[in-house]
């Protein structure tokens, strides 16, 4: 049994609900216990940094201080939250001036942050804290028929290279293979989906995601697996527009790695949020 302070971030409470649903059930099976950080606040993700870095660091430091009190590592499913948490820690460590301002802000509400919290992405927690062998032994329903393009996106591996290679990571590849899926060689695994830019400027979203999806299709994948709410939404929402614009026939379910993990571990489909898909994975589930 391993305990974590779970920092969900705002997306998994909305557009990425099925990430949280599958994460909590699947991790539970493996004895990874996520206790939601009491009264956490939004970290401002990457956009708040544009308006005011210090403000963003201050908001994040409240979460770090809350987590420190629990004495546990933070685990977050969102790559943007992950990055902002790491960057805040990094800047507090490197710039005494920033640290002083943040300390004062925390003190104004009777809090403090001593800098002892470890921040982990959910994928990182899984591959580092549980032996792959162990996961493999727990598989009751191998992912037969799943030909997966493993898509990591950017901020889980860059710029903080905490647990895998910044351009050619393979921790999720190995995980998915252990779950019985066929993993296609996917060289675009850390190329950018456009993040928030894709959401605000359709032209960017359509083009970048077309490239990512087309390559996955060409490599024979029948689904793409993601680790981040923003990537998932971008890859999923543009498929219709992409097909119209580029005259393509892309229809790929975009799944969270936790959904496949849960499935392989024998968690019933209904508890893994497959019903929340905009591009349905039903045919894959039936075949499996």
């Amino acid at each position: 049994m391993k305990e974590y302070a779970y920092y969900p971030g705002c997306s998994v409470k909305g557009t990425a609900k099925h990430y949280e649903e599958s994460l909590l059930t699947a991790f539970d099976v493996l004895g990874l216990n996520l206790t939601e950080l009491e009264d956490w606040n939004c970290c401002g993700a990457t956009l708040a940094l544009a308006v005011n870095e210090l403000k963003s660091f201050t908001m994040v430091s409240r979460n770090l201080a809350l987590a420190e009190k629990t004495g546990l590592d933070i685990v977050t499913p969102c790559s943007a939250c992950y990055l902002v948490l790491l960057k805040t820690q990094d800047y507090i460590r490197r710039y005494p001036d920033i640290k002083a301002k943040i300390d004062r802000a925390l003190k104004s509400v009777g809090m403090e942050y001593r800098g002892t919290v470890r921040v982990k992405h959910t994928l990182e927690a899984l591959v580092n804290d549980v032996k792959l062998e162990e996961v493999k032994n727990r598989v009751t329903r191998p992912l037969k028929g799943f030909k997966v393009a493993p898509y990591y996106g950017c901020q889980i591996v860059r710029p903080y290279k905490e647990f895998d290679h910044p351009f050619y990571p393979d921790s999720m590849d190995r995980l998915l293979k252990a779950l019985g899926a066929e993993v296609v060689d996917y060289p675009l695994k850390t190329d950018c989906c456009g993040a928030a830019i894709a959401g605000t400027m359709e032209e960017v979203g359509v083009r970048l995601n077309y490239v990512l999806l087309k390559e996955a299709q060409k490599r024979g994948a029948n689904c793409v697996v993601t680790v981040c709410p923003l990537c998932q939404l971008n890859l999923e929402q543009y498929q219709g527009k992409i097909n119209k614009r580029f005259n393509s026939d892309i229809s790929l379910p975009i799944l969270y790695f936790t959904q496949l993990l849960g499935l392989a571990l024998g968690v019933p489909e209904e508890r893994l949020g497959f019903n929340r898909a905009m591009v349905s994975a039903d045919s894959l589930l039936e075949a499996a």
């Binding site: 705002c10 956009l47 870095e53 201050t58 004062r104 802000a105 509400v109 710029p159 905009m278």
Partner: protein, 191 residues
């Protein structure tokens, strides 16, 4: 055609701006840039930018303040950090893009009606108020501020998300929202 001088004299460059870039966290090594262009070649968004990342880095440390702060480039940066990890001189290109965005807002020089600065501001305003980020309201506010017609274009996606139960209409405030406010006030007092 009128013949005009298009290149700036050195005397016209803003040396204060150039010094400012070097002085802020993340900007320290900007002068080490060797103009190799690796960043521009790596950048998935450079095809949309008015100045490529390589150019922005050079122009920022040379003091082309107007051009840099009015440029679309920082607003198009998706923070994928590919350039930064690849840069042979370890220049913090992505972090510099953030600094430039912040500065452009501060100086009121960001490209007007460009959705991203509006989104960024709106986003911060909302999270400071509630402590959480109301995705849906944010998108609506953004559309109204930029081009209300966008709302119509986004409606189909909204419906699909709603059907899947992925649209959160109400955002609950956190208990510590006053705490957050006090912290940010304390910050303002020290900056």
């Amino acid at each position: 055609m009128k013949v005009e001088r298009v290149i700036k004299y050195e005397a016209e460059l803003d040396k204060d701006f150039s010094q400012w870039v070097v002085s802020v966290p993340g900007g320290e090594q900007i002068r080490d840039c060797i103009q190799c262009g690796t960043c521009s070649a790596t950048c998935p968004l450079s095809i949309y930018m008015d100045y490529t990342p390589r150019k922005i880095i050079l122009m920022a440390h040379q003091g082309f303040k107007e051009e840099v702060l009015r440029s679309f480039t920082p607003w198009l940066c998706a923070s994928c950090y590919a350039c930064m990890v690849n840069c042979p001189r370890e220049i913090k290109i992505t972090e510099i893009m953030y600094i430039l965005k912040e500065k452009a807002i501060e100086e009121g020089m960001y490209p007007k009606r460009f959705p991203i600065p509006v989104l960024a501001r709106e986003f911060t305003r909302m999270i400071v108020k509630k402590g959480r980020n109301p995705e849906t309201k944010l998108i609506i506010a953004l559309a109204l501020r930029t081009n209300p017609l966008n709302l119509l274009k986004m409606a189909p996606l909204g419906l699909r998300l709603m059907k899947a139960g992925r649209l959160e209409i109400m955002t609950k405030s956190i208990k510590g929202k006053d705490q957050l406010k006090t912290m940010l006030q304390s910050l303002e007092a020290t900056t």
